[in-house]
Amino acid sequence: MSEPATDPLPDPSIARAQASGSTGSAGGSSHRRLLALIVKEYAQIRRDPSTFLIAFAMPLLLLFLFGYAISLDPRETRVALVVQDDSAPAARLAQAYVHSPYFDVTPLNAVIPARALMEEGAIHGFVVIPPDFGRSVARGAPRPIQIVTDGTQPNQATFIASYAEGVRLNWMASEMAMRAGEARATGMGPPIDVSQRMWFNPGLQSRYFLVPGAIAIVMTMIGTLLTALVVAREWERGTMEALLATPMRMIEFILSKVLPYFLLGMGSMALCTVIAVTAFGLPFRGSIFALFAIAAAFLLPALGLGLFISAGTRNQFVASQVALLASFLPTFLLSGFIFEIGSMPWPIQALTYAVPARYLIPALQTVFMAGDIWPIILPNILIMLGFGLLFFILCFRATRRSLD
């Protein structure tokens, strides 16, 4: 029969598929049902502001946080410098501190006001160059300087201590060089010259490794959390019951969740990458193909885990809690993007091998910083695909076509 043009179907794709779909049996064909479920899912994603926020607003927020606000590099930390010696070497050391890009130095001449500033929280540490410092240097046995840090913020304290020590070592080296220059004039050989170069991330900027981490977080949220929530929502609102009473097969239902959220995750990942490269100036030395292959390999276990969780819980609140514990936190803490895996105690290190994101981070970092180094990327992709297979098997075993 012919239809009036004023009755549009909600999606033209249904109309297009009409010719092929109408030959199905009374129970309907599988691809028609799958298509109808995907069209439904698409309409829901489009209308649900929370999905949109998680897929597009959250990546922007995370990138902004990791790109600008959170930085693991110490910059312009406020410290005081107490110089109790007026010799030339002491002045040169003091200059070295003042010129260091890491410190915002307040010069003082006594320890007591420095302690007062510490107690106020105005400074986070101070360095004391002791009396007689210049003379001890001249003797060839420099007196130790004192570095005092605010232990209430242990990370910062460690940074201040090591950077302050670094400044002193640099100063020592230049003092030695000066003396060597003098010595060369008197016929002695040059000292060993060490020059450091950092490969792949010459400025050692933390955003270079935080941004790939943000991409991992975003894909985890979409793949696991969002998927677990939307399936649990079908159970909670009773729509699952109505769907199960139709001739739908479970594989159709699962595919109707996997495909849209896979595309959403890839889209969100692409958005992150574009912003990371254009707005944050991240290098992108690999190929787009490698990037998409890595992301796709990671989304499989993420989606599989999300579906597995919702098959077991059938409740949005519990599903979100389990998804946070089983995927978000491990991705955050154990994937190595913030906390280096090499410096974790060995039982925790062992645990990281069970976190799919652990294999995503090095692969992503390689594509961004180094290029398509397949011997690094490929094993990681294979391991992630293995996890994906495992989670999907678990998911199919846990999903029964029944309300029991």
Binding site: P10, A36, K40, G238, E241, T246, P247
Partner: protein
Amino acid sequence: MADPIAPSVGVAAPVATATGIVKIFGEARALDGVDLAVVPGKVTGLVGPDGAGKTTLIRVLAGLMASDEGAVSILEGPPAERLDAIGYMPQRFGLYEDLTVRENLVLYAEMRGLPREAQESVFRRLLEFTDLARFQARPAGKLSGGMKQKLGLACALVSTPPLLLLDEPGVGVDPISRRELWAMVAELTREGIGVLWSTAYLDEAELCDTVYLLSEGRMLFTGPPAELTGAIHNRVIRVTGFAERRREALTRALDRPDVIDGTLQGRAIRLLIGEGEKVPDAAALDMGPDTQVTPTPARFEDGFIERLGGGPEGTSALAAAYREIPASDAPAIEAKGLTKRFGEFTAAQDVSFTVPRGHIFGLLGPNGAGKSTTFKMLCGLLTPSEGSGSVAGYDLRRAAARARSSLGYMAQKFSLYGDLSVAQNLDFFAGAYDLSGAEAREAIARVTEIFELGAHLKRNAGTLPLGFKQRLALACAVMHEPPVLFLDEPTSGVDPVMRREFWTHINGLVRRGVTVLVTTHFMDEAEYCDDVTLIYRARQIASGPPDSLKAQAARLTGKDDPTMEDAFIALIEASDADGEAEEAA
């Protein structure tokens, strides 16, 4: 044993049969050897209180659950292979709230493989049938309850299945929508569809062709509803002539050995006489000189009560132990122009009434009409935008806490702590109502004895049978002997014997001077009220004793002896007509 589903002559083969179905959840036998058949072209009623096993049986029929014993056959095949023959509407209708009316229809049409060339004509027919054509582009979540129900029905009907399973389609829907739904189902049966309609409303049973009465997982009765009522048709009487003393009269009547059940019906009482007893006349009842006895038609509910072994005695142990609420000139509950606005939306507009001490007052209305808003303002849970109110003489604006402490509150679905034991619930509510150590112990011991909770004290409240949940909820609400009781749909879904027991307590308390405010969309509960007010679209459209509302309805419709539900529908329709006339003017 004879086949319990003896098919009458000339009836077509059933579209669905279930034989000997047993379904066990943990320890509980949700279904215990149940037989059922759905015949084409007929409405088969699956009737029973909440928790009887109706939903479980429907899910077994729909192929959503496997039974532990017994066999199900849909069109002579297992349900899993006949999914395209079953139209199923779950309790919450199974609609996608963020999809439009049309998108929901398309989804279910595609899921059920309705040929695409047929879709347009099927949708047009269904949309016309359900009167939803104007709302095609509206998201399902933005439809009213009645409209959602119709859309759920349309979605279950897209592939014109020979079997339609409706799981409590009437719950929470106003009586007008319920009537419209019945009309639609009647039309479907004329087309030959076999309909299974499950319900907890016993009045709906009378509309079915065949009824299966389910109670605690067993069939109590199978057959046409008239067969159940026929067995008692000359044993139901209506007694009038004691308007002001009707509660006392009911108590005395129920205490008689020959009376097995009785209810208030406005100013009259309605009694069911035991089998083999002589139906008493006015003299035998001995209730005063004006007493008149008239026979009255038996209802399905009377038959159910008889099958359950009769209702409780008329004397309430709770009322006997309750303090006498002192008389006072001030009204116990007063609402003066209560208005609540949420932004642009007015949820309650100028609601006013007074309830004197020792009266039951009912707030009636469809869901979303403003009953709960009014109720919450009187509880002090919502601050009125305008107007004022008082409870037990305490002004809600100035002494909300004192007003609250002088009322006992029983929420819909009982709001007990399901994970706490019965004893812990009692302890908690004693504390919440500020009873001190010795008082609390005494109050808990008293209600434990009255409500026979002793055997269940250690059990978690969530696992109690519905009747005990209701007793516990009432026990918690009256432990501090408040002068005022607020009841929110207190007996919807419970079986009629438990409902009788509940109202026996309430009637007893009222005679002690307790004042009761009830919200309900359940017309039976309205009959127990001295006065009711009907709230519709945030306004009071009618107020007065149930009998005078029925009289108004009789004038409006020309029907003599309308039920409370008839009155409800007539008054709402009259209000809609007035509204349209106003708009036109």
